[in-house]
């Protein structure tokens, strides 16, 4: 049984300008110990669906129209608020992009960690303090005992993100959700934090759901990659397979638009034309159709289902009415 089973999740937001269709029938599994990288841009539904399943969206304006989110067999969407709070933090840890807004500015770092431990793990103050020191050491913060007495503003961005990871891991969750955990950080700090998360994940045998816009980070961290666009999954599969043999035009476009690792010389990048869809007025068919150079007439009319990619490995799924393998090779190479 998968640790997490998301089934047909649909989330929308009521706004003054109409209904934003943020997540449109998303289904996937996350196995124990697996790292799933979810790639997409703003408005793709990658963050919204995770916030919805953690019950972290204000309702209204958010509304979960359909779906089930089974975590260890229990449907998170039907849990009472108190039960949900126990799952959040205790069994599912999360780290978001901006560590400054996630930490309370007026409480010491120590208090913010011990609070979680006292609440979820029924520890005494002294036990919690000892464990907090241990956690800061685990996330490689020097002088942990002294740092516990400090406030968030006394920490650099990278150090604050380490604190967030320490809090997320404090109750040894079986799932860690990290939404753009390094986007606000410098590249060298990013490398540190990613290395740290990977090491801890292996040691604690956690599952990791990593949301990012950075394909380099996904390549480095993920076992499975899932590409989202317009609130849908357009492609999903083992990381090496999807990167080497993408079957969705958006995945291909993203991979091609990146500067290639070893290519020298100044040149134009391959670009994806057009702009992401207006989530208030999604086209009836494939949301990427208006920007897709390989578009077929059917793409405009009908949303393709997510189904196994032909002649590929198990677990490689794609939503496409066209067959990218039939695209002129010349076009793909240049």
């Amino acid at each position: 049984m998968a640790l997490l089973e998301v089934r047909d999740l649909t989330v929308e937001f009521a706004t003054d300008d109409g209904v934003v269709h943020a997540v449109n029938g998303v289904s996937y599994d996350l196995a124990e110990g697996e790292t799933l990288g979810i790639v997409g841009e703003s408005g793709s539904g990658k963050s919204a669906h995770v916030l919805a399943m953690l019950d972290l969206l204000p309702r209204p304006p958010a509304r979960i129209r359909t779906g089930r989110v089974l975590f260890q067999g229990r449907d998170l969407l039907t849990l009472a608020p108190t039960a949900m709070r126990r799952v959040r933090g205790r069994e599912i840890g999360f780290v978001f992009q901006d560590p400054m807004t996630s930490l309370h500015p007026m409480l010491t770092i120590g208090r913010q960690i011990t609070e979680v431990l006292e609440q979820h793990m029924q520890m005494t103050r002294a036990q919690a303090l000892a464990r907090a020191t241990e956690l800061l050491r685990l996330v490689r913060i020097p002088e942990p005992a002294r740092r516990l007495g400090q406030y968030p503003h006394e920490f650099s961005g990278g150090m604050r993100q380490r604190v967030m990871i320490a809090i997320a891991l404090s109750c040894e969750p079986s799932l860690l959700i990290a939404d753009e955990p390094t986007t606000a950080l410098d590249v060298t700090t990013q490398a540190e934090i990613l290395d740290l998360m990977q090491g801890l994940q292996r040691r604690l045998r956690m599952s990791l759901l990593l949301i990012t816009h950075d394909l380099g980070i996904v390549a480095s961290m993920a076992d499975t990659v899932q590409v989202m666009y317009g609130g849908r999954i357009l492609e999903r599969g083992p990381i090496t397979t999807v990167f080497n043999d993408p079957r969705n035009a958006y995945t291909l476009g993203l991979l091609q638009s990146l500067p290639q690792a070893d290519e020298g010389g100044r040149r134009r990048l391959r670009q994806i034309d057009g702009a992401p869809p207006d989530m208030r007025a999604l086209p009836p068919g494939d949301p990427f159709a208006p920007r897709n150079p390989y578009v077929t007439e059917r793409c405009h009319r009908e949303m393709p289902p997510l189904r196994p990619a032909l002649d590929s490995v198990p677990g490689h799924l794609v939503a496409a009415w066209y067959d990218l393998r039939k695209v002129n090779r010349q076009d793909r190479v240049s």
């Binding site: 020097p142 590249v187 490398a191 996904v218 390549a219 670009q271 994806i272």
Partner: protein
Amino acid sequence: MTAETTVLQVRDLTKTYAARGRLLARRGAGNRAVQGVSFAIARGETLGLVGESGSGKSTIGRAILMLDPPSSGSVIFEGDNLTALSTSELRERRRRMQPVFQDPYASLNPRMRIGRFIAEPLVIHGMMANRAARADYVVDLLRRVGLDASFMERYPHQLSGGQRQRVCIARALALKPIFIVADEPISSLDVSIQAQVVNLLMDLQEQLNLTFLMISHDLAIVRYICHRVAVLYRGRIVETAPTEELFRNPLHPYTRVLLAAIPLPDPVREKARPHQLFDPNFDYGEPDSRLVEVSPGHWLAAARAWAPAQ
């Protein structure tokens, strides 16, 4: 590089901020944002300025534009030392150099129509008083950045992030500058839009023979668009070289760590390679502003600067 082709020459630029309170005064040199930075950019060239937050890269950009003038040193633009000019003389020179910033949302006035926003610099400088001629010119500018005339009447909130950055670029072009300081011009844009804006900047450079200072933390993009790269560390240039030379043969330990930290979009190689981590406890030392030319065009901060401190 001959004098005729040099558009910008920065000499020994230093920017200090008065230390207020203990936070800024640590380590003695903490109040020196930029220390003795020198470089030149030739006509039509793109120089990349890379480094981490706090390395001083944006400070240099703002000092060159005289938005936040240097504490000492000179900024010689088209032969004139900007730091020695009167306000009116400076105003005149500034038309020829324009900024493009990271956040197009913050740069736009939410209540001003796009057409007026782009024409505003012309109005400020008293150019093109004829309204019809000005409107035609704005339409030309919009076309140059890939937008059509219908954008004239729109408001910023009706535009996507990529369209807003195009509008900011159109405005920067209004006064026909020869030099653009682009400070993280794509880092707030969606991945699928970044390549569009990078290509637009490169096309404009070719069409208009523009010179760029490209400030960025994204080394992968810098490799694609810059002719030369200067690496900043703690407010000093530690290494500068033609782009390919720098990427193939980085010499300064800080440059090496920086390049090694970029995750490659290649799962097989990325998972196989050892990750060289930046050791925050390792002291690379205060970099020196003396650069030595190691190979043609490849300059490195003097050796003693990066010997580990005892």
